[in-house]
């Protein structure tokens, strides 16, 4: 299958011996990876330090506060609320988007209906309309609907997407035509076909779309910033913004901020690490 590219599925023979410069290569990789990760590692260290310790710039030891910056962020600075909001928002968008897109792709790939191409183009064209292109009226719309500060406003605009429809369509079209024809010969109904055949056969792709969507949604910043004005409904990315203002004895509490940042990064990072395989496969299909 052309779609099974890459990284996850590489011929065992790739392990060709390349010893002479192996050490150099590994060194190079480890160096770049460490360099890339260093801000995060430093942040983790700093997140255990007290404000005074942070201000001793070269103090790179684990700090005296242990995890208390984290509990402080979670309890006193409402990060538990923000995280929960982010989580609920992300899960709703993931579930909603996957469901809606599966239905749409089912129709696009397996139904004969007038103006098929036009309908597909109609969906695809929304790629031209990222949030910034419509943010003002979208905000007004939410205001008019009275949806601001609600999950509806946070999730609604994300719940349908050209990308997911496109990916599922691509996936379905990649399913061997003869499998479809077998179903046709048997007279299998569309929903049976979707649930018994398409979904089980698209598990990897669905997982990939879930990961992409989760990370994408979790990382949203601008839209929640605009549409949520009530702190208790705010998501964690914007929550970081609130932390920035916190000061103790006139000094910014960087330890606390770092703890907040690490918290805000953790869920998408975990999702990525655990599900990187389907993610990689799905992303590379998106390219086409």
């Amino acid at each position: 299958m052309a779609t099974e590219t890459d990284t996850t599925n590489i011929d065992a023979r790739r392990l060709v011996h390349r010893l002479p410069d192996d050490v150099l290569l590994h060194g190079g990789i480890v160096f770049s990876i460490l360099l890339m990760a260093s801000p995060l590692l430093l942040a983790v260290i700093m997140s255990t330090q007290s404000t005074t310790e942070v201000y001793q710039v070269t103090n790179l030891g684990l700090g005296s506060k242990g995890l208390s910056n984290y509990s402080d962020a979670l309890v006193n600075y409402d990060f538990s609320t923000y995280m929960l909001n982010s989580f609920v928002m992300s899960v709703i968008v993931v579930v909603g988007k996957v469901t809606l897109s599966l239905f749409a792709a089912l129709a696009l790939v397996y139904y004969r209906f007038p103006y098929e191409r036009a309908v597909f183009m109609f969906i695809l064209l929304t790629l031209l309309l990222p949030v910034p292109v419509r943010i003002v009226p979208l905000f007004q719309l939410m205001a008019d609907l009275g949806w601001t500060n609600s999950l509806l406003a946070l999730t609604g605009p994300y719940i349908a997407s050209a990308t997911a429809v496109f990916l599922f369509r691509q996936q379905f079209m990649g399913i061997s035509a003869s499998l479809v024809e077998v179903a046709r010969l048997d007279g299998v109904g569309p929903l049976t076909f979707l649930f018994r055949v398409l979904i089980p056969m698209s598990r990897g792709m669905i997982a990939g779309v879930c990961v992409i969507t989760f990370i994408y949604t979790w990382n949203q910043f601008l839209w929640p910033l605009v549409v949520v004005t009530d702190k208790s409904s705010q998501v964690v990315q914007v929550g970081i913004r609130y932390l920035q203002g916190s000061a103790q004895a006139g000094l910014t509490q960087w330890g606390l901020i770092m703890a907040g940042a690490v918290l805000a990064l953790l869920p998408p990072l975990v999702v990525l690490v655990v599900l990187h395989r389907p993610l990689l496969r799905t992303l590379t299909i998106q390219q086409k």
């Binding site: 077998v182 010969l185 007279g187």
Partner: protein, 377 residues
């Protein structure tokens, strides 16, 4: 009754005329193989039979019923695909059951019974709970056939079911399919582009080219009496040698001549009135031989060997005769090397003549001839 009657069948895609008018009758219980080069319209024809493709023109009847407008599931057919078309996430048994469950006209027990029967017939009972990826190619194809079997159809349609298998397995599955057909006697239409498969499987073979039927006949008849140059060249490996020739009537006899070659043609149908230049003489590689092997041959000719290919059971010579290359099958242990000049003769009982349109105008032997048989008892 599950004979099939196809009349003037046509299929046009936007601008492609894939099938250009086919008339064909398939008897109840017959195993008909449709063969032809890639893109000739085999699959299209089969898919119209299945109802997967709409019919542009003409009609298809299964039994007494014209099925042009009948949806696939109601045609009482089952189809087997080249790539098995098994659902990868279901076990063998689930694959077999899935279609029937969807149809909902079968009871649980009925479904179980049929799957039981089919797995037994195909000797795959032990594979019931494996998923396709845990099966070998041959086993997968067997499951796919099993899935067709459980529907107990009137007609089996198979589109190159063996072409994904390796050579050994293909030969073996071929034999199994033959046995299965002998047991079930279900009308079967089998599409392949492999002439060996066509020859060995079919009660009759239909040769298709460019959307048109070229010949429908029993395998050996196809080999011995091709109706045109296309069929002659398509069937047989290596292909029949074609030599541009002219035929002149000399008294009672007809003599074919080509550069370096002159042959008196045995009397036969079609020779009357032929006195022509633009003809093509056809002779198969095994019907040319080294002269020393055939005593008393008058009309021998010489050719230069350009390449020798030892195939073990025989030696294939590529020889230059005039401007043409002809292939000759000779004894495997002949000591012949490239560059040698050899003396050759043809089996005059196995000559074919084609006119400039490619139509066969003459075969040197007569179709209805009796062949000596070697039956014991």
């Amino acid at each position: 009754m599950s004979d099939i009657t196809i009349q003037n069948l046509r299929k046009t895609y936007d601008d492609v005329r894939a099938v250009k008018g086919i008339d064909l009758e398939i008897d109840d219980g017959e195993f008909l193989v449709v063969v032809g080069p890639s893109g000739c319209g085999k699959s299209t024809t089969l898919r119209m039979l299945a109802g997967l493709e709409s019919v542009t023109d003409g009609s298809i009847a299964i039994g007494d019923r014209v099925v042009n407008e009948v949806p696939p599931k109601d045609r009482r057919i089952a189809m087997v695909f080249q790539n098995y078309a098994l659902y990868p996430h279901m076990t063998a048994a689930e694959n077999m059951k899935f279609g029937m469950k969807s149809a909902s006209e079968f009871s649980r027990d009925e479904i179980e019974r049929r799957v039981e029967d089919a797995t037994e017939t195909l000797d795959i009972a032990h594979l019931r709970d494996r998923k396709p990826k845990e099966l070998s190619g041959g086993e997968r194809q067997r499951v796919a056939i099993g899935r067709a079997l459980v529907r107990e159809p009137d007609v089996f349609l198979m589109d190159e079911p063996l072409s994904n298998l390796d050579a050994k397995l293909r030969v073996q599955m071929r034999a199994e399919l033959l046995k299965l057909h002998r047991d079930l006697e279900t009308t079967t239409v089998y599409v392949t582009h492999d002439q060996t498969e066509a020859m060995t499987l079919g009660d009759r073979v239909a040769v298709l080219e460019d959307g048109r039927l070229q010949q429908v006949a029993a395998p050996q008849e196809l080999y011995d009496y091709p109706t045109n140059q296309f069929v002659a060249g398509f069937v047989g490996e290596p292909a029949m040698n074609f030599i541009p020739a002219s035929v002149r009537q000399r008294g009672d006899e007809h003599v074919a001549t080509a550069p370096g070659l002159s042959l008196t043609l045995p009397a036969g149908s079609g020779l009357d009135g032929i006195d022509d230049d633009g003809l093509t003489l056809g002779v198969r590689p095994e019907d040319v031989s080294l002269v020393s092997n055939r005593a008393g041959v008058s009309e021998s000719f010489t050719a230069e060997v350009t390449v020798t290919e030892p195939l073990g059971e025989l030696l294939l010579l590529h020889c230059r005769l005039g401007d043409e290359e002809i292939r000759v099958k000779v004894e495997p242990r002949s000591r012949i090397a490239a560059g040698d000049t050899v003396e050759l003769a043809v089996d005059t009982d196995r000559l074919h003549l084609f006119d400039s349109d490619g139509d066969a105008v003459y075969h040197s032997s007569v179709p209805e001839q009796e062949t000596e048989s070697a039956l014991a008892d």
